[in-house]
Subunit: 241 residues, 4 copies
């Protein structure tokens, strides 16, 4: 073996806008949500934000760029369901129309997410989820464990649902949470504000401006294992350039 | 809806106010929350309800009585922490003062819960939780599995935190949820209403009046395993009177 | 035994070789394991069985056919790891060489599994796992919940590892387990026998002959939701032919 | 905040007999298991060890003493079931007679465990479990997270069941595992040896002699949070002497 890693701890002792050992979680920035003119079931008109989802995507693009430059791992959370809905379960009881079928156009990354080639880039990953919380019944924790993450920066849509429940999933697993407010939105101002309030209740330091998070990432020393992956193509500690 | 399937199913095909095979979860009706005059950290002034927490307790007492008469299992959820806070984790990052230490007065059942001898009664159980969601890192699911539960009726405090996150924990495990609105409260009207809205988003049929839930329980045939426990003192199927 | 209870129950009251509401789990029947002449890291020479893995595959093909005819859902468990090993974690500490990289030939279904088009068939699913137990940090439970499964028939390789730990994962979640002995194998007779003994310890009724399981499936009335999927292409209860 | 903690990582880079940041898990050293003359259902004659369970207890007493001196947190795992067996579930299908009822003599710590006052000591905890694996549906992970543990030293009975499945639970959550061989036993030599082989398969470095583990603990710098608890009575980082 031979990892050269920073001192970490599950419950970081910092109010830094990016926490101490962060990963970036981008949740559900999928076409279906952006397609507000259509009947797209995940459509999120994002009236909570001037400029709507396109503006949220711009902020998120900037944050993704900062995370890449700072050697922070990125997880692209993707809600999708099997075409026959065999994993849909209690969502049949929910208020949303049927949405996010695998292989449909609606589940692909929104075109407003103007980022190079996510997922095939080093230390970036797609994680499929079946419910709102990116932690539940997914393999997310394996990735966070590999990179010794203690803080998750959560962005995406919607503020009150997937971002909020992913923040809660992180909180109850003893991760610190950061939510850059400009990088999330909801169909109404009320739901956006309520979502933020609920997240703030969990961890008051979680709410941050995207500028502060980016500023903090610019001074972050970087995740040593991300650098190892960028150099060798693998987290395998025995791999050498 | 309109499932055409065999009588066994995790996701019940009913809008009945009590679901099809319900258990009652009473969450955090603990002294600490009722002690609004003191500095008690879980104190919940419950201004969202006329009559405050005492009124919530009265409604809940009625519901507990109905559940007992209807042969419905009852789980008394109890948040408590080890005295040295070794299980407190990310709650150090949260907005609440330190609360609910094991063996403190604050964790005992509130005196306004005027019910006979909970827990020592047949088919009633106490489940300790360390976070908000009664499902997470607890043995609750074993009890629900034993009684073949597909619906959880969630009551207690606070609407936006423990009741809401327990409802979410149930939802993402494919249980139907019912929340009798009079049986939950929050420190402010805003938090109470927001908590209900979030629960309603998960499952629109979840919000019910306590009168409707009690009315439905009066016509429920009862849980056969609860009856077996009342007759024999054990769920063991080989036990006979 | 002799439960006197309603027809819904997690813990079936039957010693039937196929349980009461079964799903078939086929675990890790992947090319890498069959390639015993190579250095393939999952190679499993299966000296525990006359005819080796090809014989195991023949028995499993028969069982898959019987499950399809009986309207039983089938889950194809597939161990695979991200190419950069970001989900590999404590497997770096294990005794196996690095194995089962996504998109490598080794992770595809072994050619000896001479079955029509798995996965694209109705009520059949692939579930990716990162460790041995098909339940852990996967979405398997959603599928089992949808089909109201109470018994899992576990087959595949290796007896002592993935089959055994998947049986254990099922056991601790209150499912009944069946393992048709001819449908699993291990590199040595000792490991095969020890794996079976450990499974038997969990649930003595779990060990069955494949002939008995197939015989029981021939008399099974079938899973109503599987039939619905075969008729309509979806589990959605509102879908009609 | 202000924890002074050692650099940790989930997947430690060491073959040290005690790992890098260890906790000691003592599993099921309960009266019921020691009572081999009786019909006690957990009775474990431990013919796998010269001197039987009393000898296992002596070794474990020494290890507990070493862990205390080394400022290592200790978790006392305790299998127990509700008196009406409401959490017993699939154990009704298992090969063991009904065992370990709460408040029965059989669940108390075996008298051969000649240690001062466990649990009331600083940084020692009791964790109740309902199945074999001490991780599953318990709050163990909260404690391990608090102390930034990356290695679990697992002892107790039986080698093939609770010790083995707890080791597996740790492995699939990316903890390193150590099992001091003299500190575990099984009813037969075969089951003991098979249990050890299965553990070794998971992590070849896991099997250690108790002497080597104790020797390593004597040189361990100690867990900083354990020291904080010994000094202040709480893990709360704001607490000062």
């Amino acid at each position: 073996m031979g990892f050269q890693r920073a001192p970490v701890c599950m419950i970081p002792d910092t109010t830094d806008p990016a926490g101490s050992d962060p990963a970036l979680l981008v949740v559900d920035m999928q076409c279906g949500a952006f397609n507000a003119d259509s009947d797209a079931p995940m459509a999120c008109t994002a009236t909570s934000v001037d400029g709507g989802l396109d503006r949220v995507a711009e902020y998120t693009n900037d944050l993704v760029e900062a995370a890449r430059n700072a050697d922070v791992p990125i997880i692209w959370g993707k809600e999708q369901h099997r075409p026959d809905l065999a994993d849909y379960g209690a969502e049949f009881l929910c208020s949303e129309p049927i949405h996010a079928l695998e292989n449909s156009e609606g589940v692909s990354l929104a075109s407003a997410m103007d980022v190079d080639d996510p997922v095939s880039r080093p230390a970036e990953y797609e994680v499929t989820k079946r419910r709102y919380d990116l932690f539940f019944r997914t393999d997310l924790e394996y990735i966070l464990e590999t990179y010794d993450i203690d803080t998750v920066i959560v962005t995406g849509i919607m503020t009150n649902i997937c971002v909020h429940y992913t923040a809660h999933g992180a909180h109850q697993r003893d991760y610190a949470v950061r939510v850059p407010e400009e990088c999330t939105a909801a169909p109404t101002e009320y739901l956006h504000e309520a979502g933020l309030k609920f997240i703030e209740y969990l961890q008051p330091d979680s709410l941050q401006s995207v500028a502060d998070v980016i500023g903090s990432l610019e001074t972050y020393e970087g995740n040593a294992i991300v650098r190892h992956v960028k150099e060798t193509g693998t987290v395998d500690p025995s791999a050498r350039r």
